[in-house]
Amino acid sequence: MSQQFTKIYQEHYSKVHRLCLGYVNGDEALAKDLAQDVFIKVWEHLGAFQQKSSIGTWIYRITVNVCLLFIRKNKKKKKISFTEIKDDTTIQEENDTQNRLQQMYACIHKLKETERIIILLVLEDLPQKEIAEITGHSHQNIRVLVHRIKEKLTKCVS
Protein backbone atom coordinates (compact mmCIF):
# COMPACT_ATOMS: atom_id res chain seq x y z
CA MET A 1 0.00 0.00 0.00
CA SER A 2 2.90 2.29 0.79
CA GLN A 3 4.18 2.24 -2.79
CA GLN A 4 0.70 2.83 -4.16
CA PHE A 5 0.25 5.73 -1.78
CA THR A 6 3.59 7.30 -2.74
CA LYS A 7 2.60 7.14 -6.41
CA ILE A 8 -0.79 8.73 -5.69
CA TYR A 9 0.86 11.39 -3.52
CA GLN A 10 3.34 12.33 -6.22
CA GLU A 11 0.73 12.38 -8.97
CA HIS A 12 -2.06 14.24 -7.21
CA TYR A 13 -0.39 16.56 -4.70
CA SER A 14 -0.21 19.55 -7.04
CA LYS A 15 -3.89 19.43 -7.99
CA VAL A 16 -5.01 18.99 -4.40
CA HIS A 17 -2.75 21.81 -3.26
CA ARG A 18 -4.09 24.12 -5.98
CA LEU A 19 -7.69 23.41 -5.02
CA CYS A 20 -6.90 23.99 -1.35
CA LEU A 21 -5.12 27.22 -2.23
CA GLY A 22 -8.27 28.42 -3.98
CA TYR A 23 -10.38 27.42 -1.01
CA VAL A 24 -8.31 29.32 1.57
CA ASN A 25 -8.06 32.59 -0.34
CA GLY A 26 -4.55 31.96 -1.63
CA ASP A 27 -2.95 31.42 1.78
CA GLU A 28 0.03 29.19 1.01
CA ALA A 29 0.60 27.95 4.58
CA LEU A 30 -3.05 27.05 5.13
CA ALA A 31 -3.24 25.35 1.74
CA LYS A 32 -0.21 23.24 2.63
CA ASP A 33 -1.83 22.21 5.94
CA LEU A 34 -5.09 21.38 4.20
CA ALA A 35 -3.36 19.35 1.49
CA GLN A 36 -1.54 17.45 4.22
CA ASP A 37 -4.85 16.72 5.98
CA VAL A 38 -6.25 15.48 2.67
CA PHE A 39 -3.40 13.03 2.17
CA ILE A 40 -3.65 11.84 5.78
CA LYS A 41 -7.26 10.88 4.97
CA VAL A 42 -6.16 9.31 1.68
CA TRP A 43 -3.54 7.31 3.58
CA GLU A 44 -6.10 6.20 6.19
CA HIS A 45 -8.79 5.22 3.67
CA LEU A 46 -6.78 3.92 0.75
CA GLY A 47 -7.80 0.36 1.62
CA ALA A 48 -11.46 1.39 1.19
CA PHE A 49 -10.96 2.61 -2.38
CA GLN A 50 -13.18 0.36 -4.48
CA GLN A 51 -12.33 1.61 -7.97
CA LYS A 52 -15.99 2.48 -8.61
CA SER A 53 -14.70 5.87 -9.68
CA SER A 54 -11.26 7.01 -10.81
CA ILE A 55 -8.67 7.59 -8.10
CA GLY A 56 -8.67 11.29 -9.09
CA THR A 57 -12.41 11.63 -8.41
CA TRP A 58 -12.00 9.73 -5.16
CA ILE A 59 -9.23 12.09 -4.02
CA TYR A 60 -11.23 15.15 -5.00
CA ARG A 61 -14.14 13.82 -2.96
CA ILE A 62 -11.90 13.62 0.10
CA THR A 63 -10.39 17.02 -0.70
CA VAL A 64 -13.71 18.87 -0.79
CA ASN A 65 -14.86 17.26 2.45
CA VAL A 66 -11.61 18.08 4.22
CA CYS A 67 -11.95 21.65 2.92
CA LEU A 68 -15.43 21.84 4.42
CA LEU A 69 -14.06 20.65 7.75
CA PHE A 70 -11.74 23.64 7.64
CA ILE A 71 -14.82 25.83 8.34
CA ARG A 72 -14.36 25.15 12.07
CA LYS A 73 -10.94 26.70 12.09
CA ASN A 74 -10.79 30.42 12.52
CA LYS A 75 -10.04 31.87 9.15
CA LYS A 76 -7.95 34.89 9.91
CA LYS A 77 -6.07 35.99 6.88
CA LYS A 78 -4.84 39.31 5.77
CA LYS A 79 -7.19 40.54 3.12
CA ILE A 80 -5.82 41.47 -0.25
CA SER A 81 -6.77 44.95 -1.17
CA PHE A 82 -8.50 45.21 -4.53
CA THR A 83 -7.47 48.83 -4.99
CA GLU A 84 -3.89 47.90 -4.35
CA ILE A 85 -4.07 45.27 -7.04
CA LYS A 86 -5.81 47.43 -9.60
CA ASP A 87 -3.78 50.60 -9.06
CA ASP A 88 -0.47 48.93 -9.65
CA THR A 89 0.13 49.74 -13.31
CA THR A 90 3.87 49.32 -13.37
CA ILE A 91 3.86 45.60 -12.86
CA GLN A 92 4.93 43.22 -15.56
CA GLU A 93 2.91 40.53 -17.27
CA GLU A 94 3.93 37.87 -14.77
CA ASN A 95 2.81 40.01 -11.91
CA ASP A 96 -0.42 40.74 -13.76
CA THR A 97 -1.25 37.06 -13.79
CA GLN A 98 -0.36 36.81 -10.13
CA ASN A 99 -2.58 39.77 -9.29
CA ARG A 100 -5.43 38.39 -11.34
CA LEU A 101 -5.05 35.17 -9.41
CA GLN A 102 -5.22 37.04 -6.12
CA GLN A 103 -8.33 38.76 -7.34
CA MET A 104 -9.79 35.39 -8.29
CA TYR A 105 -8.97 33.97 -4.88
CA ALA A 106 -10.75 36.89 -3.24
CA CYS A 107 -13.80 36.44 -5.49
CA ILE A 108 -13.91 32.69 -4.88
CA HIS A 109 -13.67 33.37 -1.16
CA LYS A 110 -16.80 35.52 -1.33
CA LEU A 111 -18.86 32.57 -2.58
CA LYS A 112 -20.79 30.27 -0.28
CA GLU A 113 -19.04 27.04 0.75
CA THR A 114 -20.84 24.79 -1.76
CA GLU A 115 -20.44 27.29 -4.57
CA ARG A 116 -16.77 27.64 -3.77
CA ILE A 117 -16.24 23.88 -3.92
CA ILE A 118 -18.13 23.53 -7.20
CA ILE A 119 -16.33 26.38 -8.97
CA LEU A 120 -12.93 25.08 -7.85
CA LEU A 121 -13.76 21.72 -9.43
CA VAL A 122 -14.91 23.53 -12.59
CA LEU A 123 -11.67 25.52 -12.69
CA GLU A 124 -9.79 22.24 -12.42
CA ASP A 125 -11.65 21.29 -15.62
CA LEU A 126 -13.48 18.33 -14.16
CA PRO A 127 -16.42 17.08 -16.24
CA GLN A 128 -19.82 18.01 -14.78
CA LYS A 129 -20.66 14.33 -14.39
CA GLU A 130 -17.70 13.90 -12.05
CA ILE A 131 -18.55 17.09 -10.17
CA ALA A 132 -22.06 15.71 -9.67
CA GLU A 133 -20.58 12.47 -8.36
CA ILE A 134 -18.25 14.27 -5.96
CA THR A 135 -20.83 16.69 -4.61
CA GLY A 136 -23.81 14.34 -4.57
CA HIS A 137 -25.98 16.66 -6.67
CA SER A 138 -27.85 15.48 -9.76
CA HIS A 139 -26.20 16.17 -13.11
CA GLN A 140 -29.04 18.51 -14.05
CA ASN A 141 -28.72 20.41 -10.79
CA ILE A 142 -24.97 20.76 -11.23
CA ARG A 143 -25.41 22.16 -14.74
CA VAL A 144 -27.66 24.93 -13.40
CA LEU A 145 -25.42 25.60 -10.41
CA VAL A 146 -22.24 25.73 -12.50
CA HIS A 147 -23.81 28.20 -14.91
CA ARG A 148 -24.93 30.46 -12.05
CA ILE A 149 -21.60 30.35 -10.19
CA LYS A 150 -19.61 30.95 -13.38
CA GLU A 151 -21.62 34.12 -13.98
CA LYS A 152 -21.10 35.25 -10.39
CA LEU A 153 -17.35 34.70 -10.55
CA THR A 154 -16.90 36.32 -13.97
CA LYS A 155 -18.83 39.38 -12.81
CA CYS A 156 -16.71 39.67 -9.68
CA VAL A 157 -13.33 39.21 -11.40
CA SER A 158 -14.09 41.53 -14.35
Binding site: F5, T6, Y9, Q10, Y13, S14, H17, R18, L21, G22, K32, Q36, F39, I40, K41, W43, H45, A48, W58, R61, I62, V64, N65, V66, L68, L69, I71, R72, N74, T97, R100, L101, M104, K112, E113, T114, E115, I117, V122, L123, E124, D125, E133, I134, T135, G136, H137, K150, L153, T154, V157, S158
Partner: protein, 183 residues
Protein backbone atom coordinates in the same frame (compact mmCIF):
# COMPACT_ATOMS: atom_id res chain seq x y z
CA UNK B 1 -13.52 38.99 -19.14
CA UNK B 2 -14.86 35.60 -20.16
CA UNK B 3 -14.97 32.61 -17.85
CA UNK B 4 -12.59 30.81 -20.22
CA UNK B 5 -9.93 33.47 -19.45
CA UNK B 6 -10.45 32.96 -15.75
CA UNK B 7 -10.04 29.23 -16.18
CA UNK B 8 -6.89 29.71 -18.27
CA UNK B 9 -5.38 31.94 -15.58
CA UNK B 10 -6.26 29.31 -13.01
CA UNK B 11 -4.62 26.53 -14.92
CA UNK B 12 -1.52 28.58 -15.67
CA UNK B 13 -0.69 28.54 -11.97
CA UNK B 14 2.75 27.18 -11.42
CA UNK B 15 2.68 23.65 -10.06
CA UNK B 16 4.30 23.23 -6.69
CA UNK B 17 7.83 22.09 -7.32
CA UNK B 18 8.52 20.97 -3.81
CA UNK B 19 6.63 17.92 -2.74
CA UNK B 20 6.51 17.89 1.07
CA UNK B 21 7.92 14.74 2.64
CA UNK B 22 5.02 12.62 3.90
CA UNK B 23 7.06 10.21 6.04
CA UNK B 24 7.22 12.51 9.12
CA UNK B 25 3.45 12.95 8.87
CA UNK B 26 2.96 9.18 9.04
CA UNK B 27 5.12 9.13 12.17
CA UNK B 28 3.17 12.01 13.73
CA UNK B 29 -0.06 10.24 12.91
CA UNK B 30 1.03 7.09 14.66
CA UNK B 31 2.14 9.14 17.72
CA UNK B 32 -1.17 10.98 17.73
CA UNK B 33 -3.11 7.71 17.73
CA UNK B 34 -1.04 6.49 20.67
CA UNK B 35 -1.73 9.73 22.55
CA UNK B 36 -5.47 9.49 21.82
CA UNK B 37 -5.50 5.94 23.12
CA UNK B 38 -3.60 6.96 26.28
CA UNK B 39 -6.02 9.88 26.84
CA UNK B 40 -8.99 7.55 26.60
CA UNK B 41 -7.43 5.08 29.04
CA UNK B 42 -6.56 7.86 31.54
CA UNK B 43 -10.05 9.32 31.31
CA UNK B 44 -11.63 5.91 31.77
CA UNK B 45 -9.46 5.09 34.79
CA UNK B 46 -10.09 8.53 36.34
CA UNK B 47 -13.83 8.05 35.96
CA UNK B 48 -13.76 4.56 37.50
CA UNK B 49 -11.52 5.71 40.39
CA UNK B 50 -13.80 8.66 41.13
CA UNK B 51 -16.94 6.52 41.15
CA UNK B 52 -15.23 3.86 43.30
CA UNK B 53 -13.92 6.54 45.68
CA UNK B 54 -17.39 8.07 45.92
CA UNK B 55 -18.85 4.77 47.12
CA UNK B 56 -15.80 3.86 49.22
CA UNK B 57 -16.14 6.95 51.40
CA UNK B 58 -19.96 6.79 51.21
CA UNK B 59 -19.98 10.40 50.08
CA UNK B 60 -23.69 10.18 49.36
CA UNK B 61 -24.32 9.88 53.13
CA UNK B 62 -21.98 12.49 54.44
CA UNK B 63 -23.15 15.82 52.97
CA UNK B 64 -19.65 16.93 53.75
CA UNK B 65 -16.84 18.70 51.95
CA UNK B 66 -16.02 15.50 50.09
CA UNK B 67 -19.38 15.57 48.37
CA UNK B 68 -18.73 19.16 47.30
CA UNK B 69 -15.28 18.24 46.07
CA UNK B 70 -16.57 15.22 44.20
CA UNK B 71 -19.23 17.35 42.51
CA UNK B 72 -16.56 19.83 41.40
CA UNK B 73 -14.18 17.17 40.11
CA UNK B 74 -17.01 15.09 38.68
CA UNK B 75 -18.30 17.99 36.57
CA UNK B 76 -14.83 18.60 35.16
CA UNK B 77 -14.35 14.92 34.34
CA UNK B 78 -17.78 14.69 32.69
CA UNK B 79 -17.09 17.87 30.70
CA UNK B 80 -13.71 16.57 29.47
CA UNK B 81 -15.28 13.20 28.65
CA UNK B 82 -18.04 14.88 26.60
CA UNK B 83 -15.48 16.97 24.70
CA UNK B 84 -13.24 13.99 23.92
CA UNK B 85 -16.24 11.94 22.71
CA UNK B 86 -17.44 14.85 20.65
CA UNK B 87 -14.05 15.25 18.97
CA UNK B 88 -14.00 11.53 18.26
CA UNK B 89 -17.45 11.74 16.64
CA UNK B 90 -16.28 14.60 14.45
CA UNK B 91 -13.24 12.61 13.33
CA UNK B 92 -15.46 9.63 12.57
CA UNK B 93 -17.58 11.45 10.01
CA UNK B 94 -16.81 9.59 6.82
CA UNK B 95 -14.82 11.74 4.38
CA UNK B 96 -15.65 9.28 1.61
CA UNK B 97 -19.26 10.46 1.53
CA UNK B 98 -20.40 12.84 -1.17
CA UNK B 99 -19.98 16.52 -0.33
CA UNK B 100 -23.74 16.97 0.26
CA UNK B 101 -23.99 13.96 2.58
CA UNK B 102 -20.83 15.02 4.40
CA UNK B 103 -22.24 18.52 4.88
CA UNK B 104 -25.48 17.08 6.26
CA UNK B 105 -23.54 14.97 8.76
CA UNK B 106 -21.52 18.00 9.76
CA UNK B 107 -24.72 20.01 10.27
CA UNK B 108 -26.15 17.18 12.40
CA UNK B 109 -22.94 17.18 14.44
CA UNK B 110 -23.13 20.92 15.11
CA UNK B 111 -26.83 20.66 15.95
CA UNK B 112 -25.94 18.12 18.62
CA UNK B 113 -23.24 20.49 19.86
CA UNK B 114 -25.91 23.18 20.10
CA UNK B 115 -28.08 20.93 22.30
CA UNK B 116 -25.01 20.24 24.39
CA UNK B 117 -24.31 23.94 24.76
CA UNK B 118 -27.83 24.96 25.70
CA UNK B 119 -28.99 21.98 27.76
CA UNK B 120 -26.14 19.87 29.12
CA UNK B 121 -23.51 22.51 29.86
CA UNK B 122 -25.86 24.78 31.88
CA UNK B 123 -26.81 21.77 34.05
CA UNK B 124 -23.12 20.97 34.57
CA UNK B 125 -22.41 24.58 35.50
CA UNK B 126 -25.26 24.53 38.04
CA UNK B 127 -23.92 21.30 39.60
CA UNK B 128 -20.44 22.84 39.65
CA UNK B 129 -21.78 25.85 41.55
CA UNK B 130 -23.68 23.61 43.98
CA UNK B 131 -20.40 21.80 44.63
CA UNK B 132 -18.68 25.08 45.37
CA UNK B 133 -21.49 26.31 47.64
CA UNK B 134 -21.24 23.09 49.69
CA UNK B 135 -17.47 23.55 49.90
CA UNK B 136 -17.72 27.22 50.81
CA UNK B 137 -19.92 26.36 53.81
CA UNK B 138 -16.99 24.39 55.22
CA UNK B 139 -14.45 26.99 54.13
CA UNK B 140 -16.45 29.56 56.07
CA UNK B 141 -16.41 27.40 59.19
CA UNK B 142 -12.79 26.30 59.17
CA UNK B 143 -10.80 28.99 57.38
CA UNK B 144 -9.92 32.54 58.32
CA UNK B 145 -12.27 35.24 56.95
CA UNK B 146 -9.53 36.68 54.73
CA UNK B 147 -8.72 33.35 53.15
CA UNK B 148 -12.41 32.54 52.74
CA UNK B 149 -13.06 35.79 50.85
CA UNK B 150 -9.95 35.18 48.77
CA UNK B 151 -11.27 31.75 47.73
CA UNK B 152 -14.74 33.09 46.94
CA UNK B 153 -13.36 36.01 44.91
CA UNK B 154 -10.96 33.72 43.00
CA UNK B 155 -13.83 31.35 42.27
CA UNK B 156 -16.11 34.12 41.00
CA UNK B 157 -13.38 35.52 38.75
CA UNK B 158 -12.39 32.13 37.35
CA UNK B 159 -16.06 31.26 36.82
CA UNK B 160 -16.62 34.47 34.85
CA UNK B 161 -13.51 33.75 32.72
CA UNK B 162 -14.72 30.18 32.14
CA UNK B 163 -18.19 31.43 31.22
CA UNK B 164 -16.78 33.95 28.71
CA UNK B 165 -14.61 31.21 27.18
CA UNK B 166 -17.56 28.79 26.84
CA UNK B 167 -19.77 31.56 25.43
CA UNK B 168 -17.14 32.41 22.80
CA UNK B 169 -16.82 28.75 21.82
CA UNK B 170 -20.61 28.34 21.59
CA UNK B 171 -21.02 31.50 19.49
CA UNK B 172 -18.27 30.28 17.16
CA UNK B 173 -19.99 26.93 16.73
CA UNK B 174 -23.36 28.58 16.11
CA UNK B 175 -21.70 30.67 13.41
CA UNK B 176 -20.26 27.53 11.82
CA UNK B 177 -23.71 25.89 11.91
CA UNK B 178 -25.26 28.96 10.29
CA UNK B 179 -22.62 28.98 7.54
CA UNK B 180 -23.10 25.26 6.88
CA UNK B 181 -26.87 25.65 6.69
CA UNK B 182 -26.52 28.58 4.30
CA UNK B 183 -23.95 26.83 2.11
Amino acid sequence: MEFKDIQNTWQQQAETNTLPDFEPVKQQLSNLRKKQWITQVILGITGIVLIAFFFYISAYNTNGPLLGMLLLIGVIVVRVFIEVRSQQKLRKINVLLSFTEFKEQLIAYYQKRKILAFRVIPILLIIYNIGFIIMSYYFYQYLSRGFFYYIVLSYVISFIVLFIFIRKQVLNELEILKKLQEA
